[in-house]
């Protein structure tokens, strides 16, 4: 009884605006001099815009249908003593850049080099949503997974083990019910830790089952690294080149990829070694 009461109390706290107000200041569109840029990616209709609104205090229109956000929206918030700029990317199923909205999302994650990319994932459709999450993890290791719609998953009789997921993906996983405002505090904490480098991520990289393909990737990745020393995602570039991705070919030819090397993200602080598991 008391245990139950305590947890219910904690849950009530997390959704209370006073509790949020203690650390989060929503800056709306007022976002000059930010310390970190945070991108918000995810499949269509997973609640990205709802998370965006919860963090920035803006009222981006949300709707229950895929394809609602096709342009990126920006807003700001203050957490701890750091200012964050949050960019809401169009919802996409992949980052292969076959359509204009996928290209917007991918170019921002690749060339915008956000300090953290939040991938909003639908807990009721985990497998399909992970396709995108895995593609994001190929491009950048500074990722936080927002495991949204946990309330719906519960209603559907699904139990999602966020600790297991965090271990497998190698990045923080935060269970959320953004429509009810649950999990926002934990998400902020995880984002702050990844942004400052306090949390060290070890992102899952997709294994190629075919040894010949794996060999080809390694060969090309090696050449990419030689052409652009210090590039953070040579393996992903190799994958895209082997897939015949014209926009990446162009980026290689024109040397725009090289710019990614110069704007290096700050070194993670080695002192704190964080056990990677769900912040719960």
């Amino acid at each position: 009884m008391t245990v139950q009461g305590a947890s219910a109390h904690a849950a009530a706290c997390a959704t209370c605006p006073m509790y949020n107000g203690a650390q989060l200041t929503r800056l709306g569109i007022n976002m000059t001099d930010w310390d970190f840029v945070v991108a918000l990616a995810g499949n269509p209709n997973t609640g990205k815009s709802t998370v965006f609104n919860a963090l920035t205090g803006l009222r981006q229109h949300t709707g229950n249908w895929p394809g609602k956000t096709v342009v990126r929206a920006e807003g700001g918030f203050l957490y701890g003593d750091k200012r964050y700029k949050l960019v809401d990317l169009p919802g996409t199923y992949s980052l292969l850049s076959t359509s204009a909205d996928e290209e917007v999302a991918r170019d921002f994650i690749l060339f915008g080099q956000p300090s953290v990319t939040i991938v909003v994932v639908d807990a009721t459709r985990l497998e399909r949503n992970l396709n995108l999450a895995l593609q994001v993890l190929e491009i950048t290791d500074r990722v936080v997974i927002a495991l949204n719609l946990m309330d719906e998953a519960k209603r559907h009789g699904l139990r999602v083990d966020e600790r297991r997921l965090a271990r497998d993906l190698g990045v923080p996983v935060v269970p959320m019910a953004a429509r009810q405002g649950e999990g926002v505090q934990d998400l902020l904490k995880a984002v702050a830790e990844v942004a400052s480098g306090a949390a060290v991520t070890r992102p899952h990289r997709v294994r190629q089952r075919d040894p010949q393909v794996e060999q080809a990737i390694n060969q090309i990745a090696g050449q990419v690294e030689r052409a652009f020393p210090g590039l953070p995602n040579a393996r992903w570039v190799a994958l895209r080149l082997l897939d015949g991705d014209e926009s990446i070919e162009q980026a290689v030819r024109e040397g725009t990829l090289g710019q990614l090397v110069q704007q290096k993200s700050p070194e993670p602080l080695p002192a704190i070694r964080l056990e990677l598991e769900a912040v719960s």
Partner: protein, 473 residues
């Protein structure tokens, strides 16, 4: 460096060629396999529960081949019936407040401070009245229509509409996602054109952009609702009037969908030939709408924003209308010359010169069509009505009917053709600009602008000819 990268690209190309054509599939298969494995480890199913079944049962009806379309029409009917029946009383109250009391008070004020007649005419009879008219006509229906529509959206019904229409779009050689951008166009065509970005193939995206204008936008709903109410609903027995009125509005919306499909089929078989893409459409779960939040945000984000746009357009338009009907060249005002010049063609297609002139004035915003038509009809109409030039007076539905039939010489044909022309004419200037921004192509922008207009002339000419041949008017 350049040699280095050239070598790298050549290597990648060679390896790709050596692996054969299924490289892409192999890479994707690896991602899927990993995703499946990770998801399987993390998720446990604790037995199926009721909600899944509820969703499925509902989907079995709402997306069934047999009941999908009837259900869609019934929902649309319901939304418009509530809008028309509910907006009537507040519209009249607003009309009395703004157009009678507000108008008179402003004139008394102007007289008290000795404002010159031309200035009070321009400001009160032009700018104020046009703005007040737009608010009185548009605010009540929009304050009902938008929250209802947003509730449907929040509930998850829109993707089901897209699902039902997908088959038809596919047969028309267009992309199934076009049904999503089309639905978006019911709010605003400029937004609908931007929404076509979700369509991958440029060919299918162009089709979606060109046909988006056949989705009736915010600015045009009020014209349809008013015409449906005072001409078509009034022709039915009083008990059924609001049903028939709602039915006529839905009919025009359905014609819009039919035209969208026909034009898509035509384009994909002529100028924009090519393969039809396949795609998977996700049907999201039905979610209980958060009613108060939805009502609040749709009032703030949609109703007020749309109304503000209408007001900012109506104010200068009111000034233009007042000036054009009070500046004389020879013995006739500018508006008079224009209307006289457009009249023969207007009558040929079952409309008249005033309506065509109103559509020219309203290129920046379709919202002001009805006020413009009424005002010009009262000042330029055949009989002398005693109204000052360029003044829009307060009118109730019955009086609007009287003005249009007696002064304007309107018949049922004029009303029906105005409804059709409201569906089929050039997009507003904002939408044209958006089309240009999205395509950066002068030819396709011109096609998207002129094709609906040409269709509008053709269709109204056809209905007028048929009605006259059969002796209906």
């Amino acid at each position: 460096m350049a040699a280095n990268t050239d070598q790298l690209l050549a290597n990648a190309r060679n390896l790709r060629a050596a692996a054969g054509s299924d490289y892409h599939d192999t890479l994707m298969a690896s991602i899927y396999a990993d995703a499946e494995q990770i998801a399987e480890r993390a998720v446990t199913v604790e037995g199926q529960r009721g909600r899944f079944d509820f969703d499925r049962t509902l989907d079995r009806i709402l997306t069934s081949k047999m009941w999908g379309f009837p259900a869609m029409l019934a929902l649309l009917m319901g939304v418009f019936w509530l809008t028309i029946a509910g907006a009537n009383v507040p519209s009249q109250m607003l009309g009395t407040l703004l157009l009678e009391h507000g108008y008179n008070a402003l004139h008394q004020l102007a007289a008290a401070i000795n404002m010159p007649a031309w200035l009070s005419g321009l400001l009160i009879d032009g700018v104020y009245l046009a703005t007040a008219w737009v608010i009185a006509v548009m605010l009540p229906p929009m304050a009902i229509f938008f929250p209802l529509f947003t509730l449907l959206e929040d509930f998850g019904y829109l993707p089901r509409v897209a699902f039902n229409l997908d088959r038809l779009f596919h047969r028309a050689g267009a992309h199934g996602k076009q049904s999503l951008s089309m639905v978006m166009g019911y709010g605003c065509n400029a937004a609908g054109v931007v929404a076509t970005r979700i369509i991958e193939s440029p060919r299918e995206r162009l089709i979606a952009i060109i046909t988006n204008n056949f989705s009736i936008c915010n600015g045009r709903w009020p014209t349809l609702i008013l015409m449906g109410t005072i001409f078509i609903g009034a022709a039915a027995p009083p008990l059924l009037a609001s049903f028939v009125a709602a039915g006529s509005v839905v009919a025009v919306a359905v014609i819009g969908i039919v035209v969208t499909l026909l034009v898509s089929a035509f384009l994909s078989r002529t100028w924009l030939k090519g393969e039809t893409s396949t795609f998977s459409l996700e049907l999201p779960p039905y979610r209980p709408p958060r009613i108060w939040q939805t009502v609040y945000t749709s009032l703030i984000d949609r109703t007020l924003i749309v109304l503000w746009r209408a007001v900012t357009m109506a104010a200068p338009a009111g000034a233009v209308i007042w000036l054009s009907s009070n500046i004389y060249i020879g013995d006739m005002s500018i508006a008079g010359h224009m209307v006289q010049w457009l009249n023969p063609f207007g009558l040929l297609i079952g409309l008249n010169g005033i309506i065509l002139f109103a559509y020219i004035v309203a290129i920046p915003a379709n919202e002001i069509i009805v006020p413009t038509i009424l005002m010009l009809t009262m000042t330029l109409g055949t009989a002398a009505a005693g109204a000052q030039a360029g003044v829009m007076l307060e009118l109730e539905d019955a009086q609007v009917y009287g003005v249009l039939t007696q002064l304007g010489g309107w018949t049922l044909l004029t009303a029906v053709n105005l409804m059709l022309f409201s569906l089929l004419h050039n997009p507003c200037s904002t939408t044209i600009l958006t089309i240009w921004n999205e395509t950066k192509n002068l030819k396709w922008t011109a096609v998207a602008t002129l094709l609906p207009l040409g269709l509008g002339f053709a269709v109204t000419f056809a209905t007028a000819t048929i009605a006259r041949t059969l002796g209906w008017v």
